[in-house]
């Protein structure tokens, strides 16, 4: 009886082994994307209003698992790119530090994740021209005198916090005599530090700041006049694998058809849809 069972199991294994390769295997045709006919885009899905996770589907969302959906400015941009290129859009939720490695490991075709092109990043990936540009602002407690600040130099001797591994953190030192807080990994955690008086200000791009303040009414945005703000590139670009010029040119061509007004309107719409806004 035992032998019979062993034979049965063996037979199953053998048929299982032979059955697998007989399934139609697509001969790998040269394609500009990782998977033929698909555009796989990586993002964090936790960086509203650029990309966020929600539980209900609607006309704007894309499914990222059997139960989660993602929406946001980046998602809408990805949808337009996929539509124009005639590809099926697939969005992969990845950790921030895993985005560029995933690009280079042929896991995703594009990073559309509110990522700014920097010289360091440009060494590991190629970037399109910006698909969104915004202002760099500060978030402060609304009841703090700093809410009336007009120049970044008003933050001298104050504790300012930026997000780890982002331009948000690098620019903090543009404030003379600033107390540069140890950068933190996640933006919501930073908001908590501000609410709990651990720090006096957070650097943020305007659309992110709008979302944060909408969710936390005790906070306020400080905008700076031209010349007294941060000197920084706040634009965000699409990243493609280094050397994949075919895809880069194709994506660039789509981005070029979307004018500034359309982009701004897309961002306002996304900001209004984000879950933090009730």
């Amino acid at each position: 009886m035992k032998k019979l069972l062993v034979l049965l199991v063996l037979a199953l294994i053998v048929t299982g082994c032979t059955a697998a390769p007989t399934t139609p295997e697509n001969p790998k045709t040269p394609s500009m994307t990782v998977e033929e006919g698909k555009l796989i885009v990586g993002m964090e899905c936790n960086y509203a209003p650029f990309n966020w996770t929600q539980i209900s589907a609607n006309e704007f969302t894309v499914a990222i698992s059997s139960v989660d959906y993602t929406d946001g400015y980046d998602v809408q941009m990805a949808k337009i790119i996929a539509d124009e290129l005639g590809l099926e859009l697939v969005i992969k939720k990845l950790a921030w530090e895993g985005l560029i490695p995933a690009l280079n490991a042929d896991e995703i075709d594009l990073v559309i994740a509110g990522m700014t092109e920097t010289p360091e990043r440009a060494e590991s990936a190629d970037f399109t021209t910006p698909y969104y540009e915004s202002d760099m602002v500060m978030i402060v407690r609304a009841d703090d005198a700093l809410a009336q600040a007009t120049s970044i130099q008003d933050f001298a001797n104050k504790i300012v916090l930026g997000q780890m591994n982002t331009t948000y953190d690098e620019i903090v030192d543009q404030i003379d005599n600033v107390i540069h807080a140890t950068p933190q990994e996640s933006y919501p955690r930073m908001v908590l530090s501000l609410l709990e008086n651990e720090v006096d200000g957070l650097t943020a791009e305007l659309p992110v700041a709008v979302g944060v303040v909408a969710a936390n009414p005790s906070l306020a945005i400080v905008q700076f006049a031209e010349g007294s703000g941060f000197v920084v590139d706040t634009s965000v670009s699409v990243a493609v694998q280094k050397g994949n010029d075919e895809l880069k040119v194709a994506v660039q061509a789509v981005l070029d058809t979307i004018d500034q007004d359309t982009r701004n309107q897309m961002m306002i719409d996304a900001t209004n849809r984000q879950p933090a806004v009730e």
């Binding site: 996770t53 698992s65 989660d68 933006y187 919501p188 979302g211 969710a215």
Partner: protein, 258 residues
């Protein structure tokens, strides 16, 4: 997102709203945690049994087997030291990206692989300790009955060693439920990764992670209760041997009233 008013306390209401709205997302995370923790513990136990079991086998000096055994012991020791001595988070990132070109694996497969070999290192030590806890008289008796050292290990020592080590093995499972959270660095959609998305989408950090902590706690409490029941069953001797020790233990158990 619409926040519900249930208790009137804003903090608690936000927590409940997150739970009510995002439960499918959290449940997906729980399923992944269980998949990774269960398969990681089982595969890790198998690795531990093989490595720990072979380490405990004694070979006579002077034979070629002795040299092979010596090399094996060194390698096994290196494996245990390396995987117990480095953080699983570091192992996850390194192994995932390092072997990605060769295996082309998904984060979940890589996650199970990492947690398995990590658990294997701990299990090897647990099994080794379990084997040492078995009275040497058991081995002597088995050998004097003519069993080979492998037969003795498989039929006599290991079953008792596993029973003795069961609480420690169960503990590894609970540790794995919690430690699977570090796999978020390689984007395994486990509970912590899912919670990070919710917190980032809502800008509600404390509330989301309080809910997450409670979910983890529920998981570990249920698991430890199940393990406790299994442990009790293993210890309740159900043999019909009319030996005095069996009887006395049964009497003791009844007398204890537990």
């Amino acid at each position: 997102m619409k926040y519900l008013t249930i208790t009137g306390n804003q903090f608690i209401d936000t927590c409940l709203s997150i739970l009510i709205t995002f439960w499918p997302s959290l449940l997906l995370g729980v399923k992944t945690v269980l998949l990774v923790a269960i398969s990681g513990t089982i595969i890790g136990l198998v690795i531990g049994l093989i490595i720990g079991g072979l380490r405990a086998i004694k070979v006579e000096k002077g034979s070629i087997l002795y040299i092979i055994k010596w090399v094996y012991d060194v390698l096994a020791k290196c494996y245990v030291e390396i995987f117990r001595g480095t953080p699983m988070m570091v192992q996850a990132v390194f192994i995932y990206y390092w072997l990605k070109p060769a295996f082309g694996w998904t984060p979940i497969v890589a996650g199970i692989f990492v947690i398995s070999i990590n658990t294997g290192a701990y299990m090897a030590e647990i099994i080794r300790a379990g084997i040492q806890s078995v009275d040497v008289g058991q081995t002597e008796a088995a050998r004097s009955l003519g069993m080979t050292s492998i037969q003795t290990m498989m039929n006599i020592v290991l079953p008792q060693a596993i029973k003795n080590a069961f609480p420690a093995i169960g503990n590894e499972f609970i540790v794995n439920i919690k430690d699977s959270s570090v796999l978020n660095v390689i984007s395994v959609t486990e509970l912590f990764f899912q919670a990070k998305s919710i917190a980032g989408s809502l800008y509600k950090y404390e509330e989301t992670f309080l809910v997450t902590a409670v979910v983890y706690l529920v998981l570990t409490i249920i698991t430890s209760s199940i393990l406790h029941i299994i442990e009790k069953r293993m210890n309740a001797t159900k043999t019909s041997y009319p030996s005095s020790s069996t009887t006395s233990r049964m009497v003791k158990t009844q007398g204890g009233g537990k």
